[in-house]
Symmetry: C2
Subunit: 300 residues, 2 copies
């Protein structure tokens, strides 16, 4: 399974970066290969200062070895070996009317002293962070998520939509990071699902990413905007940074387990603002977004 899935995310990285370069029309992804001293490594691809994409990364990695101490405590296991691979992407567009997107698909194995797999699971998801709310964009994104889920189990979309709202929550602000999407973790072998079934589901979601995001980008990338729209986008990007640095488990694990810092923090937007006690005007488009972030809703 690990070879199959790693092969899949390598190809998916190629597909996604090619398509995003085409949409951008100017910037190309810069590639960095890196090795992890304790085992494994990754292929980081970053795009900066494009026509459409201000900053973004589409990264894959496959790492293995002794499970770092911080993760032993988290998983409540002893001194075991592990393998983990995944694709992580975050795209911050320049135009404030084009939403930021995040996606991740990953596979994890844990071994006993004899090298036998004692546990394995998939995780991942995709979620959208708009700066201005276009309900049709939110519905489109969720519709694609639901279609991918429904092919496997009609219970998946409502369950993973809710998990996404719960996870990408800036608790200290009482706000969602964005308008959600899917989030799933610990997808393990069960009576209903073999690991192959989970593989089919996770790759279905991975394959749906471009369909979920690109039409939204195409619809909004040419809209005119003002410095006020940019300011609001940069203030909201501050909330994105707050979530990633304060709450996001992946980021914090990376930082605390000697991950490649630049690959982890490619998720942070290029230009960000913090304004003391900023509140949008009542009834404004900015306030309309906040309303939805404070009270996550059903989009379908």
């Amino acid at each position: 399974m690990k070879e199959t899935f790693y092969q899949y995310i390598q190809e998916l990285q190629d597909t996604i970066t090619s398509k995003l370069e085409e949409v951008d029309g100017k910037a190309k992804f810069h590639q960095d290969l890196w090795k992890r001293p304790e085992g494994g490594g990754g292929r980081t691809r970053v795009i900066q200062n494009g026509n459409v994409f201000e900053k973004g990364g589409v990264n894959i990695s496959a790492v293995h070895g002794a499970l770092p101490k911080a993760m032993q405590a988290y998983f409540n296991v002893g001194d075991v070996d592990f393998f983990a691979c995944g694709l992580s992407l975050v795209i911050h567009p320049k135009n404030p009317f084009v939403p930021t997107v995040h996606a991740n698909w990953r596979y994890f194995e844990m071994y006993d002293k004899e090298g036998q797999i004692v546990d394995s699971w998939f995780g991942g998801g995709q979620d959208l962070t708009p700066y201005y709310l276009f309900e049709e964009d939110a519905s489109h994104f969720h519709e694609v998520c639901k279609t991918a889920c429904d092919k496997h189990n009609p219970k998946f979309y409502p369950e993973y939509k809710k998990k996404c709202d719960d996870y990408f929550h800036n608790a200290h602000r009482g706000e969602a990071r964005g308008i959600g999407g899917l989030f799933f973790d610990y997808c393990k072998k069960s009576d209903d699902m073999t690991m192959q079934d989970w593989y089919d589901f996770v790759t279905e979601v991975g394959d749906s990413f471009l369909e979920a995001y690109v039409p939204i980008v195409e619809r909004r990338k040419h809209l005119e905007y003002t410095q006020e729209h940019r300011n609001w986008q940069e203030i909201r990007r501050g909330r994105y940074v707050e979530f990633n640095l304060v709450h996001d488990k992946g980021t914090l694990f990376g930082l605390k387990t000697n991950g490649r810092i630049e690959s982890i923090l490619m998720s942070l937007p290029s230009h960000v603002q913090w304004v003391y006690d900023h509140h949008p005007e009542e009834g404004s488009e900015e306030a309309k977004l906040l309303e939805v972030l404070k009270n996550p809703k059903e989009w379908l």
Copy 2:
């Protein structure tokens, strides 16, 4: 002691904000009074978009009640009552040649069920975060710190200088946040020091703040700078954000114990950049700063 110290920080807040307004020559501090539902409150003063100061806060608070769960675990105590008061300031100047400064002086009491004080201590310090290194500025700041310390105990400066380097360390970057200063905590009654002695020491440091910082601001605030200097400042401010959101205990406690978010996060700079895998040119002024941050040195 709690009334005496709270009186002191109220007056110190006035002294510091008046002087900084005078240095700025344009912006005034905006004041927000706030109450903590569980007991106490604060007086937040924020300056924005000045001639000299782009964003900064000089805040005092005095809070009390049942010790929040997160702090019980941290202090390894049970369900006790507490009182805490302090002054916290962070000043982010506009000109990249003027350093950011942070300072904090605080007093803590813990009570048993009968309301008797079972423990009390002072903490605090002040530290400087330059974007370009002027050795004479770093030496001046440390000289003022040392003079304040030496009046109380010649061991304090070396000890608290080292604690400052150790604490304000962006471990995930292998860099200091800035060029340090003083950091002390759990300053409790001992054979050598009564609580009154600690009060005298902490207020000595508090009284030294303007002398430590203002001459540096005056020397640098009129220096001409380019967009490249600003870019570097904004990238370094990103490291400041990383430290405060990932490592700073005060910030994280605030966020996790229902503190007033806007008063806590006034510490974040207004304009910030993250550039993927940014490295200054070898031999540049930017590289010279990094060198000192990677290898903290003695300034005196």
